[in-house]
C-alpha cells in the first residue's frame, strides 16, 4: 500500500527486543524518517512472549501496523506466531542461537543467524541486539555510516569501550544482512533538528514539567509507571521531587498537601490506583485544591490484565467520588498530544482550582512517534495568572480576615500561600464557609455548592470541541483518546474504498458544552470506535445531546485498536458499504 515499512521484533521478556527497537528507531530518526513504535508485553520479567512494533515512513505516522515487512524473531515461537502475517515483500531474521531453524521459508526470505555467537565474535554476547539492529539496518539499506552514528549516540554515555563493541556488533550484523534487502521506496534524508521521537509516557512527564509541576507522589502501577520513571530520570536536571508513596491513597493526599502549600503536584497510576484515589479526588474537589491525576488505563476490573490496554474508565472518571463537583477530564489522542493535554490539565486545574484527570492507556504510554513539540521556554506558567494567586491580598493574619472560599462571580476565590503575613489560610474537606471553617448551615451549603458549580461556565469555554474530518460525510468514526491515530488511518482506507465516512475525535471530554456539542453532532451518523465493551463515549454523547450512535465497534480484548481492525469491522456495518 503505502511507502511505510513495519518491523516486528518478537521474543521472550528479557531478550531485549525493546533495545533492538530503540536502536532501529534511532537509526531511522538519524535518517530523517518518521517512526511509530509500540510495545506489547506480558506481566513477567523473563520468558514468555512479547513484541515490539516499529513502523517507518517518510511522512508522519499516526499508528502502528500489524503486518511486518521485516520480522525479527528472537526465538522460534515468535517466528511461528508471525511469519504468516509477513507482507509479500517480507523478510525474516531468525535468531538461531537456540538451534532449531524452521525449514518452511525459502532462504532468500529468511536469514537464520546465531546472533549471540556473532555478538561474541564482535566482543561481547550482550551486543546480540545490536547485531540484530545491524541486520535490519542493512535490510532497509540505511547505509552503515548513518547506523553507526545512531549507535554511537545511543551508547555514548556508557563509555568508549561499550561504543566500540557495539559498533563492531553493528557492522557484523550489517554485513550479514546486506544481501537481504527489503524492496521499498523510502528515501533516507537527513536528521531533522526540530523533530523528536516521543513516547506517550515521556510526553506526559514533559507536559507536567512544562506546566511547572514539581511534586510527583505515586505508587507503581502499570501502565502508569513509565511516566514516573521518565520523571525520575529527569529529576537529575530539574528541581522536582518524585516520591514513592506507601499506597495510592497516600499519593493523592500528598499531592493535595503539596498543592495547598504552593507546589503543583501530579500523580500517575492505573485504574486500580485511581479507584483508591477516588476519596482524595473528592477532597480536591471540595477543598478546591488543584491536582492532576493521570489514569493510564488497562483492562479491569480489579487487577485485570496488567500490561494490556483498554479505554473503559471514562464514565467512572467523570462520576468518581461521592457527591458532585466540577473536574476536568482529558484524553490525549497521541504521544505528541499528550504533552499538550497534560500541560493544559495542570494549567486549567490551577486556574479553576479543581482536580483534573488525564486518561491515557497502555497503548498510548508505550507508543512512540516522531513529530514536533512546540514549547516556548519564555512563556512561563505564571502562577499569578494561572491560579489567581493573590499576592495583593492586604488582609493581615493579625486580622484573620482572608477568606479562602470568598464568594466571587466566577466561583474562583483568590488563593494565597499558607503561612505568610498575607493572611491565615484555612482549607477543609468538610463543607465550609467562606473562611474555610466547617459550616453546616443549609444556606451556606447551597452557596458553596453553587460557588463550585459556577466555575463550569468558564471551564467549558476552555474545552476544545472534538475535531471533525470530512464534515460532509454520511458516517463518522467517533472516538476518544488513543484510538485517534488508528481511526484516522482507517478512515483514509475506507474513503479510498469509496465509503462515505469522516471522523469525530474527542480529546477534551469533560465538562463539555451540551449545546455546542449538539450543534456539532446533530444529523451525523456516528460509528463509535472504543476500547471498551459498552460504548462509553456513546453513553456520554447520548446523555449530553440525546443523539444515539449508529453503530459501535467495541474492542475489549486488551489489545490496541489497529486501523485494519476498524476497517474490517466498519465494512461489515449495515448500510455503510453501498
Amino acid at each position: 500500500m503505502g511507502h511505510d515499512i513495519t518491523i516486528l521484533i518478537g521474543g521472550a521478556a528479557g531478550q531485549g527486543i525493546q533495545t533492538i527497537g530503540s536502536l532501529l528507531a534511532g537509526i531511522c530518526h538519524e535518517a530523517g524518517l518518521f517512526i511509530y513504535s509500540y510495545d506489547d508485553f506480558q506481566s513477567r520479567i523473563r520468558g514468555g512472549h512479547s513484541y515490539h512494533l516499529l513502523r517507518i515512513d517518510n511522512q508522519p505516522l499516526t499508528g502502528p501496523s500489524l503486518s511486518p515487512d521485516i520480522l525479527v524473531a528472537m526465538d522460534r515461537n515468535s517466528f511461528d506466531l508471525y511469519h504468516h502475517r509477513l507482507t509479500k515483500r517480507g523478510r525474516v531474521l531468525l535468531n538461531s542461537d537456540a538451534g532449531d531453524t524452521p525449514a518452511d521459508l525459502p532462504e532468500n526470505i529468511m536469514l537464520s543467524l546465531p546472533l549471540a555467537d556473532l555478538a561474541k565474535s564482535a566482543g561481547g554476547a550482550i551486543t546480540a541486539n545490536t547485531v540484530a539492529a545491524g541486520v535490519v539496518a542493512a535490510m532497509l539499506g540505511t547505509g552503515l555510516s548513518r547506523a553507526r552514528q545512531a549507535v554511537e549516540a545511543q551508547f555514548r554515555s556508557r563509555g568508549k569501550k561499550v561504543v566500540e563493541m557495539n559498533l563492531a556488533a553493528l557492522e557484523k550484523g550489517y554485513e550479514a544482512g546486506q544481501n537481504h534487502a527489503v524492496d521499498h521506496t523510502l528515501t533516507f534524508t537527513g536528521f531533522a533538528q526540530e523533530r523528536v521521537v516521543m513516547s506517550g509516557a515521556r510526553a506526559a512527564a514533559l507536559g507536567a514539567l512544562a506546566a511547572d509541576c514539581r511534586f510527583f507522589p505515586f505508587y507503581p502501577m502499570s501502565p502508569g509507571t513509565p511516566i514516573v520513571t521518565h520523571l525520575a530520570d529527569m529529576a537529575q536536571e530539574v528541581p522536582i521531587v518524585v516520591e514513592q508513596a506507601e499506597d495510592e491513597i497516600a499519593a493523592v493526599n500528598m499531592a493535595i498537601g503539596a498543592s495547598f502549600a504552593g507546589v503543583r503536584a501530579l500523580t500517575a497510576t492505573s485504574g486500580g490506583g485511581f479507584s483508591l484515589m477516588v476519596e482524595g479526588l473528592g477532597l480536591a474537589g471540595i477543598s478546591e485544591t488543584p491536582i492532576v491525576i493521570i489514569n493510564a488505563q488497562r483492562p479491569g476490573p480489579a487487577t485485570g490484565m496488567a500490561t494490556r490496554t483498554a479505554q473503559a474508565d471514562l464514565l467512572f472518571t467523570i462520576h468518581a467520588s461521592q457527591d458532585e463537583f466540577p473536574r476536568f477530564v482529558f484524553a490525549p489522542g497521541s504521544a505528541l498530544d499528550t504533552f499538550h493535554a497534560v500541560k493544559k490539565a495542570v494549567m486549567l486545574s490551577q486556574r479553576f482550582q479543581v482536580p483534573a484527570i488525564v486518561l491515557m492507556d497502555q497503548f498510548l504510554v508505550d507508543s512512540a512517534m516522531t513529530g514536533v513539540i512546540s514549547f516556548d521556554p519564555a512563556e512561563e506558567p505564571d502562577p499569578a495568572m494561572e491560579t489567581k494567586w493573590d499576592q495583593k491580598e492586604t488582609q493581615s493574619s493579625q486580622n484573620d480576615t482572608y477568606q479562602r472560599y470568598r464568594l466571587t462571580a466566577d466561583g474562583i476565590s483568590p488563593r494565597i500561600h499558607p503561612c505568610t503575613p498575607a493572611g491565615l489560610v484555612r482549607v477543609s474537606g468538610n463543607e465550609h464557609g467562606p473562611s474555610g471553617f466547617p459550616d453546616e448551615n443549609p444556606e451556606n451549603r447551597c452557596a458553596m455548592v453553587d460557588k463550585r458549580f459556577k466555575k463550569l461556565t468558564g471551564m467549558k469555554e476552555q474545552m476544545t470541541m472534538p475535531d471533525v474530518f470530512a464534515p460532509e460525510s454520511e458516517f463518522f468514526l467517533t472516538g476518544w483518546g488513543s484510538t485517534r491515530g488508528g481511526i484516522m488511518e482507517a478512515c483514509q482506507t475506507l474513503r479510498q474504498e469509496g465509503v462515505d465516512v469522516g471522523w469525530v475525535l474527542f480529546q477534551d471530554l469533560w465538562p463539555l458544552d451540551e449545546h455546542k456539542l449538539t450543534d456539532l453532532l446533530s444529523g451525523k451518523q456516528l460509528i463509535l470506535v472504543e476500547g471498551n465493551a459498552t460504548g462509553q463515549l456513546g453513553v456520554l454523547i447520548h446523555s449530553l445531546t440525546g443523539i444515539r450512535h449508529y453503530s459501535l465497534v467495541a474492542k475489549y480484548d486488551g489489545r490496541p485498536v489497529f486501523a485494519n481492525y476498524i476497517v474490517d469491522k466498519v465494512r461489515q456495518i449495515q448500510g455503510v458499504k453501498k
Partner: protein
C-alpha cells in the same frame, strides 16, 4: 483561663470536661513559648474529635479526610519544609484508618509534630472501639468485647524507627506543653501519644484512671537516648503504670535532608526554568 494570641472566637464543639481541652491549652502554651505567631503555624487535622483541634485556635489550617492527615502533612512539608507543621489526629485516625501512613511517615522521618489524642475510643462516631482499646473491652458496638489486641503506639513507633517518641497526658498541661516544644524542635518525625480522657464514651480510661498511673520520666531519671530503656517503657502494660515524657529521641536525617534538591532550598521557592524543560524536550 489565660488568654493567648492563638485564641479565636469560635464555638468549641467538644463535650464539657473532654481531655481535648487540656491538649488545646498545652498547644497554645507551647506555641507561645516558641515565640510563634498564628501565621507561622500550619495545623493539619484528621477527622474525628481530635481532628477538629485546628479549628479552635488561630493558625493556618488543613483539614481533610479521616486517616489521611499524615499523607497530607508529608506533601505539604515536601512542598515547603520551612513550614512548622503540627498534626492533630486521633487514635482511630492515626493508628486505625491511617495506619499505613503512620508507618510510612515514620520511615521517611518527615519533620512533623504529631499529636495523637489517644482516648482509646472512636469519639466522634459515638463510642466504637479504636485500635488502642484493650482486648475484650465492651463498647457501644462491641457488646461481647473487642476481638483484637490493643495497638501499642509507643512500641509501634519505636519498632518503626521513629526518631522522637513521647507520651503526654491531657491532665498535665505544663508537661505536655513542654513535650510539644521538644517535639517541634526535633529535626525529624516527632510523635506524642497523648492520654486523653473521653468523658462521653470511655468510662474505663478516665481522668482518675490515668491520674493514678502516670509518672514523669524526667523524675524517674530516664535517658531518652537509651533505646532499650525506651523499649522497656513501651512494653510496660498501661494497666500498671504509664510513663509520660520523652521516651526516646535520636539524631537522624529528616526527609528534606535526604534529598539533594531539598538540601538547597524548599521546593516551592525554586524558580521555574523553561529552558531546562525545553532542552529535555529537544533531547527526546
Amino acid at each position: 483561663m489565660s488568654t493567648s494570641r492563638f485564641d479565636i472566637d469560635r464555638e468549641n464543639q467538644w463535650c464539657p470536661g473532654c481531655g481535648n481541652f487540656g491538649i488545646l491549652t498545652a498547644m497554645k502554651q507551647a506555641f507561645e513559648a516558641r515565640n510563634l505567631t498564628p501565621a507561622d503555624l500550619l495545623l493539619i487535622g484528621g477527622i474525628g474529635q481530635a481532628g477538629k483541634t485546628p479549628q479552635y485556635l488561630a493558625c493556618n489550617m488543613l483539614h481533610g479526610l479521616h486517616g489521611r492527615a499524615l499523607a497530607m502533612a508529608t506533601g505539604a512539608k515536601i512542598a515547603n519544609h520551612d513550614l512548622n507543621v503540627v498534626v492533630s489526629t486521633g487514635d482511630g485516625d492515626c493508628y486505625g484508618e491511617g495506619g499505613n501512613h503512620f508507618l510510612a511517615a515514620i520511615r521517611r522521618n518527615v519533620e512533623l509534630t504529631v499529636l495523637v489524642h489517644n482516648n482509646q475510643v472512636y469519639g466522634l462516631t459515638k463510642g466504637q472501639a479504636s485500635p488502642t482499646t484493650a482486648l475484650g473491652t465492651v463498647t457501644k458496638l462491641q457488646h461481647q468485647g473487642t476481638s483484637a489486641d490493643a495497638f501499642n503506639p509507643v512500641a509501634m513507633s519505636l519498632a518503626a524507627g521513629a526518631s522522637f517518641v513521647a507520651r503526654g497526658f491531657s491532665g498535665q498541661v505544663d508537661q505536655l506543653a513542654g513535650l510539644i516544644q521538644n517535639a517541634m524542635s526535633h529535626p525529624g518525625f516527632a510523635i506524642i501519644d497523648i492520654c486523653q480522657p473521653c468523658v462521653s464514651f470511655n468510662k474505663i480510661n478516665t481522668f482518675a484512671w490515668y491520674k493514678e498511673r502516670v509518672y514523669d520520666l524526667e523524675d524517674a531519671g530516664h535517658d531518652p537516648s537509651d533505646f532499650s530503656a525506651a523499649w522497656a517503657i513501651a512494653m510496660t502494660p498501661a494497666s500498671e503504670q504509664i510513663a509520660t515524657g520523652v521516651i526516646f529521641a535520636k539524631e537522624g536525617n529528616a526527609y528534606h535532608r535526604r534529598l539533594t534538591v531539598l538540601q538547597h532550598q524548599p521546593l516551592v521557592s525554586y524558580a521555574f526554568d523553561g529552558d531546562k524543560v525545553h532542552s529535555l524536550i529537544s533531547r527526546s
